[in-house]
């Protein structure tokens, strides 16, 4: 299959598919055809990413599936795509989640179906672009462009307070990323006219410059992750977004910031990363502990899962800034796992919301009596969310906690409280919603999940368990790239 531009296909099939869906079903005509077209586009988009996994050479940290074309020669900007062991799994995860989202919105979305599906497809292509761009301008262009579809998704199909949430989401992330643009332009200038990310990795920079660059990147990525204290847009966005929007937001969009740390902050400013370790670790621990407590007291299920996402992402940034292989790999596993688990949690909440039109925990109780199949799935995902062994949630958290203890016992100790807090908020919520006597006549009238929902959740459950008991293939893929990254960071740039 050499010579087939797989990454370009992974980017442009969903985008062109999305435009096709708009052409077919704009103005709310031909709704069934629009659905089928989008399913087809999403499936095809996922199918072209599969060879990335099977043909990936895990023995090297070099970029694979590389495509290089001139784009804007005036500024030596190139259409340069490529993936390594760190970014490749995310391309797959993203394309997979898009497929799930299209299926999840199949019957639930009744208004402006074509626009809904098209927005998700276009976003999927753009996000694949972010993960595979190796030219800084290309990366930035995709990074910013991804705001547009999500803004529309939240604003059009969201809940009652959607306008506020959509604008807040957009402005927060835009504010972060524009400073990054200045940093990119500075690096272009400092490197004598190159926008190649890999050239910048080798560019010698003094500590002060590195620190300024690090802070500029930090603003961009911290907002996107999101890290405490710039996380406040996330609960709003999650609560107001439609189910599909929440799933993509949690499963994919949050990973962009973390990915940015690995691609930009650590390798371009290694010495600054070291010197700001205290800051990053502190912020991460605050996210883990404080946000964990905040999650505990939420009355809205979506808000609870949103806060739990922030806490989990705190674990990811913690893992990165321990600067050892266990920590970084654990963090990446945690990102992938969180993609499945949080996506599944939001889908479960979506299943309930579609039937009851409420996300308040207090409106539920005794769901297990009327929806036994659903309750079983929900239990599995809630367990995974709290990091139960044999689920994917455990692997990453355990690796990061272990790495933290190696670095400093007290960091490890504080980080490990997430296992308690996670169990507390996930399972307590589960107990209040699912167990107990049937709370009211609305709950009594609930119907269990149908075949479409069953298979959607079953596939996710499969991956959650697979990753939990046998994470080795995923780890094998990333070893070489992570080692290379850590060697580079340890060497530093100050000599």
């Amino acid at each position: 299959m050499a010579g087939i531009p797989l990454l370009s296909l992974a980017i442009w099939i969903p985008i062109l598919g999305g435009l096709l869906v708009l052409a077919v079903g704009g103005n709310d005509r031909n709704v069934p055809l629009a659905r089928v077209t989008s399913l087809f586009a999403a499936a095809l988009g996922f199918a072209v990413t599969l060879p990335l996994w099977f043909q990936f050479d895990a023995g090297t940290s070099a970029l694979q599936f590389v495509e290089i074309r001139d784009w804007i020669p005036r500024y030596s900007v190139r259409y340069h795509l490529g993936v390594d062991g760190i970014s490749m799994p995310f391309v797959l995860l993203n394309s997979f989640v898009t497929l799930i989202v299209v299926i999840a919105g199949w019957q639930v979305i009744r208004e402006r179906v074509a626009q809904y599906m098209a927005a998700f497809l276009i976003m999927s292509g753009i996000i694949n672009g972010i993960f595979s761009a190796m030219d800084a301008v290309l990366f930035y262009v995709f990074f910013e462009a991804s705001l547009i579809p999500l803004y529309l998704i939240i604003g059009i199909w969201g809940g009652p307070n959607r306008v506020y949430a959509a604008i807040k989401f957009f402005l927060y992330t835009l504010a972060g990323s524009l400073l990054m643009l200045v940093a990119l332009l500075y690096l272009f200038y400092a490197s004598n006219g190159s926008f190649e990310i890999l050239d910048w990795h080798r560019l010698p920079l003094d500590l002060r410059t590195q620190q300024l660059l690090f802070l500029a990147f930090l603003v961009a990525f911290a907002v996107k992750v999101p890290m405490w204290p710039v996380h406040t847009w996330l609960p709003d966005a999650h609560v107001e977004a439609p189910t599909g929007g929440s799933v993509v937001l949690a499963a994919i969009a949050l990973k962009l910031g973390a990915y940015g740390f690995l691609r930009f902050s650590l390798p371009i400013a290694p010495d600054a990363s070291m010197s700001f370790q205290w800051l990053m670790v502190t912020l991460s621990l605050i996210a883990v502990v404080y946000i964990g407590f905040v999650a505990l007291v939420q009355e809205d299920m979506k808000k609870l899962v949103a806060y739990s996402s922030i806490a989990h992402m705190g674990f990811v940034t913690l893992g990165f800034f321990l600067f050892n292989r266990l920590g970084v790999e654990g963090a990446i596993v945690q990102m992938i796992s969180h993609g499945f688990v949080s996506g599944a949690m939001f889908l479960c909440i979506g299943v309930l919301y579609d039937r009851m039109h409420s996300r308040r925990i207090a409106d539920y109780g005794g769901v297990v009596n009327v929806m036994p199949k659903f309750a079983a799935f929900f239990l599995l995902f809630a367990m995974a969310n709290s990091g139960l062994p044999a689920t994917s949630g455990f692997v990453g958290e355990f690796m990061v906690a272990l790495a933290a203890v190696k670095t400093n016992f007290w960091i490890g100790f504080v980080a490990a409280t997430t296992l308690i807090l996670g169990a507390a908020y996930s399972l307590w919520m589960y107990k209040r919603v699912v167990f107990g006597p049937v709370a009211n006549e609305h709950v009594a009238a609930l119907e269990d999940i149908g075949a479409r929902e069953f298979w959607m959740l079953a596939v996710l459950a499969f991956f959650v368990l697979l990753l939990g008991v046998y994470p080795a293939p995923l780890l094998d893929v990333m070893h070489a790239s992570v080692d290379e990254l850590l060697r580079h960071v340890a060497a530093g740039k100050l000599h």
Binding site: I72, P73, E144, A145, I156, V163, F170, L178, L181, L185
Partner: protein, 490 residues
């Protein structure tokens, strides 16, 4: 004294437009009954014909002078002229229905349109202070009359008076500055002035004094802070097709004015005018973006957004003054040109949308008039969204690359803090563009009337908006044209 016959072929486009303007005027007087259709057809033909002449006369890249050295023919002028034709063409086409519905379509309207275009053309090709002034006055006088064209409407008349008084003051300032330069150098020719300035032949104090007046005059024409007082009221008060024209063609002409005067004439004193531009640019970007947030009238909002965009153009111009190499200077001016041209394209499309929504007795001037446009016309809602995101500088649209190019020049020139300030203000600016997208997509329509527009307008407006996306995916072409224009002209 021997009379040397000037090479008229270099000014063929101007001569053609001047002749055609007279034809339209005569036809309008004598063929009363069919004057309106004829006027429209002739005006469009004139624009297209001028574009042909310009396109076919630019194959020679060297700079050529005619009428002594009063008039210059170079790539910079030709590129700007082509975009000026485009704005006039779009203004005529998008605005036709608007004028007919308001009984404003008269032959005189087309005469004034063509005259202002002719003025702009002369301005961008002038190489002499007097010719520069001549072009400027010709353009603005015609525009004053166009703003007041709907003479029974109080708002329009007020805007016209305001425009006229402030415009006259600014012309006076410019003229005063020019007179000082003439006094110091004894010449009106920009080449001679440029040499005198760089050699320091003349009283430096007079130069600087004159320069300050010139910069003030230029700033008035750009409509940048603190010379922006007229902008919002004129944009708001003028009939929308005229607003569309004012927001594009005169800005391009002002860009030529700035480049020819400051870079062509006063590069020797660049250290003096750079801080002035910096002040103007920062103030415009800050105030334009902040004031735009408070507007509920979309024409006023676009006026303030235009102020901030002009601030970006000035950023590009001032970034050319560096201790860096030739490449950086070249990058800076071509980024400013690229920004000005991109802004003109975006501005045409945005006012085109305002015109599209207007109909008899209804102006569609409020942002709320765009409510629920996605329900009424998903296609044009998407087009407007594209324009708004482009103006906000979100990629993949042209506006992003315009900002990108200017910021790159600013950072290369070592003014990183200016770039940081500019991007922070861009975030604030994004809010009001997002608000337009919000009312179109997130709100329910209060008005469900179908859009009325001729098919030409629909096609051209769609093409105009889609250009922003296509040029955003492939910005190289337009960038190269702008770069070549700067490279060959200076």
């Amino acid at each position: 004294m021997e009379f040397e016959r000037p090479d008229f072929s270099l000014a063929a486009a101007e001569i053609f437009v001047a002749v055609m303007t007279l034809v339209v005027m005569v036809a309008g007087t004598f063929l009363r009954r069919i004057s309106r259709e004829l006027g429209y057809a002739l005006a469009q033909l004139t624009v297209i014909g001028a574009a042909f002449i310009t396109v076919f006369s630019v194959d020679d890249p060297t700079v050529r002078y005619t009428f002594g050295t009063m008039y210059v023919s170079d790539w910079l002028g030709q590129v700007l002229k082509l975009f000026i034709y485009l704005s006039v063409f779009a203004s005529l086409l998008y605005g036709r229905l608007y004028l007919i519905e308001r009984r404003l379509e008269k032959a005189e309207y087309y005469v004034l349109m063509l005259l202002s275009m002719l003025g702009a053309m002369i301005l961008v090709s002038a190489n002499n202070l007097l010719v520069l002034y001549l072009g400027l006055e010709m353009m603005t006088l015609a525009l004053y009359a166009l703003v007041a064209f709907d003479r029974d409407n109080g708002l329009r008349s007020e805007a016209a008076i305001k425009y006229f008084v402030l415009g006259a003051i600014s012309s006076g300032l410019l003229l005063y500055g020019m007179s000082m330069i003439y006094g110091a150098t004894g010449s009106l020719d920009l080449g001679v002035v440029g040499q005198a300035v760089s050699l320091g032949a003349g009283d430096e104090l007079v130069f600087k004094f004159g320069l300050a007046f010139l910069v003030a005059g230029i700033a008035f024409k750009f409509g940048v802070v603190p010379f922006h007082m007229w902008v919002a009221d004129v944009y708001h008060g003028a009939p929308t097709p005229v607003t569309l024209l004012i927001s594009s063609a005169p800005k391009l002409a002002a860009f030529a004015l700035a480049l020819r005067l400051l870079v062509g004439g006063f590069f020797g004193l660049a250290e003096t005018w750079q801080p002035m531009l910096m002040l103007l640019a920062v103030a415009s970007i800050v105030l334009g973006n902040l004031a735009a947030i408070a507007q509920s009238n979309i024409k006023r909002m676009l006026a303030y957004s235009g102020i901030s965009h002009m601030g970006f153009v000035l950023l590009g111009l001032l970034a050319g003054v560096t201790d860096g190499g030739h490449q950086q200077v070249f990058n800076a001016y071509s980024s400013a040109l690229f920004y000005a041209v991109s802004y003109a394209l975006m501005s045409l499309a945005s006012f085109g949308m305002v015109l599209l929504l207007a109909r008899t007795g209804f102006e569609a001037e409020h942002i709320d008039d765009f409510k629920g446009l996605n329900r009424r016309s998903p296609w044009f809602a998407a087009m407007m969204m594209l324009v708004m995101f482009s103006m906000a500088g979100i990629p993949f649209f042209l506006g992003f690359f315009a900002k990108f190019a200017v910021l790159e020049a600013v950072v290369s020139a070592g003014h990183t803090w200016l770039a940081v300030l500019a991007v922070i203000m861009s975030v604030i600016g994004a809010y009001y563009y997002l608000r337009v997208v919000k009312v179109m997509y997130f709100d329910e329509p209060t008005d469900r009337t179908a859009l009325i527009a001729s098919s030409e307008t629909r096609v051209l407006l769609s093409a105009n908006a889609l250009t922003l996306a296509v040029a955003g995916l492939m910005p190289q072409g337009l960038m190269a044209v702008c770069g070549y224009a700067i490279l060959t002209s200076f």
